[in-house]
């Protein structure tokens, strides 16, 4: 099993997101005042400056906006993964998140910008929080 760096707490902005991940839910925020979508999670609505943000559950599907295949990372947590793909995923609800694209034979060849992907929650060797990664649909 992978052994990625875990989110660390106390960190009140992102804690609900990661508690959602434990339940297999991909969460984002939406403003109750102006309906603007906010991500990464934070306290303030970046559209209207208000403080009335609600947590919503994403359907977990989106497209690859861009990606890179990392061939060299000095962090030991990633050295076991071999070449792996880091990506920005545009979720259908209108937020862009950083993640990995997994489940392809050769990430240098089998991933494309615009590809449709779906979230899955990857269990970790150590730590309580599964990590949301994306697999081509």
């Amino acid at each position: 099993m992978p052994n990625r760096p875990q989110p660390r707490f106390p960190e009140p902005n992102s804690q609900p997101f990661w508690e959602g991940a434990k339940r297999g839910e991909l969460l984002y925020q939406q403003c109750n005042s102006c309906s603007g979508v906010v991500f990464y999670p934070r306290l303030i609505c970046t559209h209207c400056g208000g403080l009335d943000l609600a947590w919503k559950q994403s359907q977990g599907e989106g497209t690859v906006y861009t990606y890179s295949v990392v061939r060299q990372n000095r962090n030991p947590a990633f050295s076991d993964l071999g070449a792996y793909a880091v990506a920005y995923i545009d979720l259908d609800e209108g937020f862009r998140m950083m993640s990995n694209v997994v489940g392809v034979a050769d990430p240098t060849k089998d991933i494309a910008i615009g590809q449709r992907v779906r979230v899955e929650f990857e269990k970790q060797d150590s730590g309580d929080y599964p990590v949301p990664v994306f697999r081509p649909i």
Binding site: E11, S68, N75, G94
Partner: protein
């Protein structure tokens, strides 16, 4: 040009000559550079009344630096926005001098990143240290700094048809300039580059991929180094040894990973129009572009954002050896050898200003004939994430 304000100028510079400096501290590199930049200017340490400092020395920010020099400045500015900090600080020095709050300002930089084996490019979120809102959303995914820039490159290729060989033109021209700069040649030797001579586009494409689509020869080095700048009011500049290099336009901006945003557009698209507006010049008039070359894609994106060509047109703009110091086409690019082939101790923004000044004084090792105007554009942070852009336009006396 007649309406340009000429209120402050760079009158003294020093670049620390070594890229591997074991036994030196960052603070010592800063202090030695300040001493030599003041000597270059003809002004004295006791003339300095303003300190700009990123706190990369040994703590205390501007207080720490002022204490080390035993100065009692009337202005301290500790703007730290990554690699473009020195462009931001230069903008602030102009503003403070214009406001009558400062007369002689110093900016300095020192780093022993190479001696400390700091993994700048292949490092990434470590999942260590105090928790924070951004790290918790990025650290689990193993994004290295190079991968972040590489994501911009992939999207740029996808959107505009840019090819790896187009990006490689930057590595080729920059290396040519490095081979003409003895300090850059020594840097490549001391940092054990496999080869230190000129390179071709094919050499770049044949070098190993670090993070797709970026190759080794598209990535800056990790070195020690540093330097300093002396900025003086028009009155104080009259007492300087050499001709002043005037700061005629400045712009500062930020950009982030945003929902629905265009990753191929940098903060430079916001900072440049401000700087060009103030300077009352157009990009095509500039002889020189010193652009933060952390990676090739950084330069390609920023050239477009500064208005040298339209967004997406870099691939055509880069043709015909445009960037070489001896090209008939403007602008010449990173004529000291850049971060790719001369130095990159972590925050390269200072060196962009130093080489601009050398060119406008006629002192570069790859001198552009009759150079009149230059832009130094720093990029700090992650080009494909949160970052800063600082644009400084400089003019010969």
């Amino acid at each position: 040009m007649a309406n340009q304000a000429r209120d402050a100028a760079i009158v003294g510079i020093h670049e620390y000559p070594l890229r591997v400096a074991p036994g030196r501290s960052a603070m010592q590199i800063k202090a030695e550079s300040i001493s030599k930049a003041l000597e270059d200017s003809g002004l004295k340490l006791t003339d300095v009344d303003a300190i700009y400092d990123t706190n990369e020395g040994e703590g205390g920010g501007g207080l720490g630096m002022a204490h080390y020099l035993n100065l009692k400045p009337t202005v301290i500015d500790t703007t730290q926005v990554g690699g473009s900090s020195y462009e931001f600080q230069t903008a602030h020095a102009l503003r403070d001098i214009r406001a009558g709050k400062a007369n002689v300002a110093i900016l300095s930089y020192g780093s022993v990143a190479a001696s400390n084996r700091t993994p700048i490019g292949t490092g990434g979120g470590t999942g260590m240290g105090a928790p924070n809102w951004q790290g918790n959303m990025e650290d689990p995914f193993g994004q290295t700094l190079i991968a972040n820039y590489a994501m911009v490159a992939h999207r740029h290729m996808h959107q505009y048809g840019t090819r790896a060989e187009d990006l490689a033109e930057i590595s080729v021209s920059t290396r040519l300039h490095a081979t003409r700069n003895p300090e850059a040649v020594r840097a490549m030797q001391d940092l054990q580059f496999m080869a230190t001579g000129e390179i071709t586009v094919q050499d770049v494409l044949d070098s190993r991929v670090i993070a797709d689509p970026l190759h080794l020869l598209e990535c800056c080095m990790v070195s020690d180094g540093g330097g300093a700048l002396v900025i003086a009011s028009a009155a104080a500049a009259r007492g300087a040894k050499k001709k002043p290099v005037w700061i005629i336009g400045t712009g500062e901006a930020t950009k982030y990973r945003e929902n629905g945003g265009d990753i191929t557009v940098s903060a430079g698209a916001q900072s440049a129009p401000i700087a060009f507006g103030e300077a009352q010049v157009r990009p095509e008039e500039l002889d020189l572009a010193m652009i933060y070359d952390s990676f090739t894609i950084t330069v390609a994106t920023i050239l477009e954002d500064l208005g040298f060509c339209k967004k997406g047109d870099y691939k055509d703009f880069a043709k015909n050896n445009r960037f070489r110091f001896d090209s008939a086409l403007k602008p010449a690019l990173n004529t000291d050898g850049g971060g790719l082939s001369s130095n990159h101790p972590g925050m390269r923004g200072l060196f962009l200003l130093l080489e601009s000044v050398r060119q406008l004084r006629g002192e570069s090792t790859s001198q552009v004939a009759n150079a009149q105007l230059a832009i130094a554009h720093g990029n700090g942070g992650f080009l494909g994430g949160n970052h800063t852009g600082g644009s400084i336009i400089l003019a010969r006396d």
